[in-house]
Symmetry: C2
């Protein structure tokens, strides 16, 4: 997908919401745990219910790999279902991969060609040649981990060099030259929204994927305040708060309500203070 199409979707739907498909089998409503391809069945209902309010879906690979072959089947069915029925959705593989060049090329093959994802999250630790193989695919995106939303983010991402620059800023600064705004985005956790001011000085226009709203406690208002650009520039993810809003048969309706609530908040934030 081209960046312009994503921006078009955001304007049309007045939403920058991504639903994270962290679809843990053990948390599925009871009536779905004994059917075939249970996670796909769950995802399908979540997707149909939330599609009017969202512009992106983000399956997290761990929740599929944990069930081996069965999990991969559910993942492939989910990806194909979205691409067939909602071709304008931005589809993110939350995989956090990254390896030496010839290996990263294989991961890119997995997510961009074998599965038809638009973007994949990548970990920066191994440097340029672990990231650039993902950038050689037309209309596909790397979303590089910069500042994550978990407690452990402070262990290494905040370490400052002798010019007092934290590692996550060095990651953004150095990597910004590896790609362009048309093929790179960054993960910046909502729990560190005030850091967005500094980040926007380095990458004023790149899109940011923002996890940590909802279950992890980040503020949507702060994210918009500090991170929004003239093209929005934000994809805000919510996973558990939407997927598991209800554990009963009405889980899809409850998910839709949660997604709509976030979309309504977003509607009031988009371009209000931007020209």
């Amino acid at each position: 997908m081209k960046l312009d199409s994503l921006i078009g979707q955001i304007k049309q739907k007045k939403s920058f919401l991504c639903v994270g498909l962290d679809s843990e089998f053990a948390k599925l409503p009871a009536h779905l745990q004994s059917v075939e391809t249970p996670v796909f069945r769950f995802n399908k209902e979540i997707i149909d219910a939330t599609a009017p309010y969202t512009i992106a879906y983000k399956p997290n690979l761990a929740f599929y790999e944990s069930r081996g072959l069965e999990g991969w089947k559910d993942l492939e069915l989910t990806v194909n279902y979205i691409k067939e029925n909602y071709p304008d959705m931005f589809l993110i593989a939350d995989a956090k991969r990254g390896d030496i060049g010839n290996t990263s090329r294989m991961y890119a093959e997995a997510f961009f060609n074998h599965l038809n994802f638009d973007a994949v999250t990548v970990a920066p630790y191994m440097g340029a040649d672990s990231v650039t193989p993902f950038l050689g695919f037309k209309d596909k995106f790397v979303i590089l981990l910069a500042l994550t939303s978990n407690a452990g983010a402070s262990d290494f991402q905040y370490i400052t060099n002798n010019a007092n620059k934290p590692l996550f800023m060095e990651v953004i600064e150095k990597s910004a030259s590896w790609g362009t705004e048309q093929n790179m985005m960054y993960v910046v956790g909502a729990t560190k929204a005030s850091m967005l001011t500094n980040i926007r000085q380095i990458v004023p226009n790149h899109f940011l994927l923002v996890p940590g709203v909802g279950a992890q406690g980040g503020s949507l208002e702060d994210v918009a305040k500090y991170g929004m650009t003239k093209d929005c520039g934000l994809i805000v993810n919510a996973s558990r708060s939407i997927l598991f809003a209800s554990s009963g048969k009405d889980f899809d309706k409850a998910a839709a309500q949660e997604a709509e609530k976030l979309q309504k908040e977003m509607e009031n934030m988009i371009w209000i203070n931007k020209s």
Copy 2:
């Protein structure tokens, strides 16, 4: 597998060689490209041919995921074949995973329970709570990326803090307290063997997984010289130089020759200058 069993294998076989199963479909000998479960068939012959000379196998997940469901089937068959026929082999999932706590727990589930790996490689960027979920499994190991063998390693791993300590040393120092020598190892590339002296000052006994010998040009002799402990403390990996030593029908014999050559070199290095 317990660390003592691994050390026992190393002593018995006079080898600390790991064969990396980076089994790229496009590189398989022609006669195997049209059979069912082709990568498993290739791996099976490689394993049977090289087992006398090796103490570990390390499938790299990218080469399986790139073929989707078919690839995962080959991976599961490979893991099961090794565990059934060579139960003393140390089995490493080269996956370089790492995510927020509840997600890392799912990856651990995938590699330690669903698949029966002994160890998984993990990326450190997201910090403690992305690594510790892998440490809660009895007789299983995290192998944390510290200093990798690729060119991009210098982009971030060498960045020094205001006490002049490079990031990879900070990663080792901080993470050493998260686990023990019984459940943690580190990846240190053979291409940076001289750094092993500094690393051994921080983790004198932890096992190190050393890629980069062979195709990437690292020196086995230097690795042993700077990194060996009284229990060996090293697992040296070779992938392409063994797997693709011949592209003909004799690929298994050629692989065995390459593996034996490395084992003979190792035999002369083990405990020569250690008490």
